[in-house]
Homo-oligomer: 370 residues x 2
């Protein structure tokens, strides 16, 4: 069962039950606009794996996005149910059950999927044909992430040929995403990684075009590198996701002076359960309230206070001698280490503005693993 | 919305959609029995924060447990809704809204809660009195975890006095749980930590008894140390939780030769999405399918294969040259690093026996953060 929302629309922020995933709607709106206004002449397809929330997807599309990305078949289903008309699953979908579900979704929306294997292309083609639908297929090439994806060049051309003649599939282009580059701290290292990936993507696209197959789209990019893909002349579709929220890990990336800043809009609002000794307080948000793969949460706007350790349902804060003291039932605003898997822990995003709860958005694709 | 179950009862294990949280019911049943049979003359109150599943709580109670523990008010609500009649929230409940919810639950079940603060005792008393119920209250003492809890000795006696005369509350005893001791690798270090905690708990209990207040229960212990609390003559209620499932982190504890072994019964069943190069395969279970606070998942029963890195929805496996190769759609059994926060990522536990799905249990308290 989903949990009950931790607030009602109209409540003051002080009345939100803790812990809660809360969103500063002003900062969120500015992030949304900034990205939408920064991609003239290029397709923006924000990644829905960050928010898992159809309300946000629809706002991104209203602001000019062509649709959204997601990573899982069941995430795609949640977005289709929420009214999103164009979804790219930026992942391989390989099990027969999932392929059948994916094809079924294409009755209700434009559905794209990645391929890196000939047998998988045939399975997708077969399922789409049986369902009487067309699936958009993108050949994933490995441009540095070393996860899925065929090698750039000849193997990608070979797979594109197969897709181009496969019934029920429409070859749309290349997926060239360099995940590891997003979190390189040094801006020159990020630029260099995308420059290298760009050469591979460009050469592969040209080889596919030369083979007489129209490679309409080269899609990729994330919050750490999107402007490099945008300015490359190679990518013509961008997939940033975290920019709407931001997190402690992305804040650790060094930016060049001219680089666009996105604001921290997403927080976990936690409550103090116990504060018996000076220098020590315990909040109600621990290992089940944050993902810890990218480090501990950061304490927001409270000098001399840091989140020192977590257990399942406790977070221990340490305070320096000159920090403002904390008492039982005080609220602490925390910045998640990594937004995507943290959002996945919550059923609701509580949007606030000017001190009041303005909206409750369902994290409809929370837990959508299949 | 909760996700659909990844299997149906009667399905072969090979038909379970991945990734899925799967439970070997034979191993699980042996774990359940072993603990139940190892605590003669002592109350067993297993911790429900590990499983969040009323079906499992009721099986534990059928096997002799007096009830279960949990950590959150909304977890307690899920267990009450699931038919559990006796629940101890092993945590401070401090916000007015949660206190009101907790008192309301006491109309339907025996509800206990911890206290470490005088003002909180008065707030609980007030809410219980208004609701016309009695809440069981336990004074939490800090025996080494350094989270919540008053200091042992005089501060605990003072708080016990306050509870004893507070309308709507029944003083039941002491909560003395040493969380950090559970994961000390060396068995002698675990024994020493609990011996030290025991002195503090015993002395405090005696001081409370000497003050003319009956300290009926000393409760605590976990999967790493439970036999030390059991054999201490001090604790008379035990709270282990993870023993039913086990995880990679608990497997790293060194046990003495005579120490009881619990079996790994809980796995994440993952599917291979891509396996293009020798030595490398990618599964569909990443940062949203496991908690990573206690390290990476372990690959089960597949020599030369290890889970090398995770991104949000991908897990990269590395294989040695002599490892059995992996192909697209192969299944891999993975042992979570830390069971509690991993279970919290799933809506369903898929129980299997003899190669078939035998049950689908709802993780009813998943996401119960409030």
């Amino acid at each position: 069962m989903p949990q009950l929302p931790p607030a009602r629309v109209g409540d003051p922020v002080a009345a939100i039950d803790t812990p809660a995933l809360v969103l500063d709607l002003d900062a969120f709106g500015r992030n949304l606009e900034r990205m939408a206004n920064s991609t003239p002449g290029i397709r923006l397809r924000p990644h829905g794996k960050a928010h898992k929330c159809p309300d946000i997807a629809l706002m991104q599309i209203t602001a000019g996005a062509v649709g959204v990305c997601c990573q899982k078949t069941d995430e795609a289903a949640a977005f289709v149910d929420g009214g999103v008309a164009d979804i790219l699953v930026t992942n391989e979908v390989v099990s027969p059950a999932k392929i059948a579900r994916l094809a079924d979704l294409a009755h209700r929306a434009t559905i794209g999927v990645l391929v890196d294997d000939a047998a998988n292309v045939l399975a997708l083609s077969d399922a789409a044909t049986r369902a009487g639908v067309t699936l958009d297929a993108y050949v994933e090439i490995d441009v540095g992430a070393h996860r899925c994806g065929v090698l750039p060049g000849a193997p990608a051309v070979e797979l594109a040929r197969l897709v181009a003649v496969a019934e029920g599939l429409r070859f749309r282009g290349l997926h060239a995403y360099h995940g590891g580059a997003q979190h390189l701290r040094d801006p020159e290292a990020r630029a260099a990684a995308i420059a290298e990936a760009g050469v591979l993507a460009r050469d592969t696209r040209e080889m596919i075009d030369d083979a007489g197959i129209h490679c309409a789209i080269v899609t990729g990019g994330g919050t750490g590198t999107w402007r490099h893909e945008r300015d490359s002349g190679i990518w013509n579709e961008l997939q940033p996701g975290s920019y709407v929220f931001m997190d402690a890990d992305y804040q650790r990336n060094t930016l060049t002076p001219d680089e666009m800043r996105f604001e921290q809009s997403l927080f976990v609002l936690a409550g103090v359960m116990s504060a018996l000794h000076g220098g020590h307080a315990v909040v109600d948000a621990g290992l089940k309230a944050f993902a810890f793969d990218s480090g501990l949460p950061l304490v927001h706007n409270r000098g001399g206070t840091h989140y020192a350790k977590a257990s399942d349902e406790h977070g221990v804060l340490e305070l320096t001698a000159d920090a403002a003291p904390l008492a039982r039932n005080d609220r602490v605003w925390l910045v998640p280490g990594h937004c995507d898997p943290t959002v996945n822990l919550y059923d609701w995003i509580v949007g606030f503005r000017a001190g009041r709860v303005e909206c409750l958005w369902s994290v409809a694709a929370r837990g959508a693993l299949g």
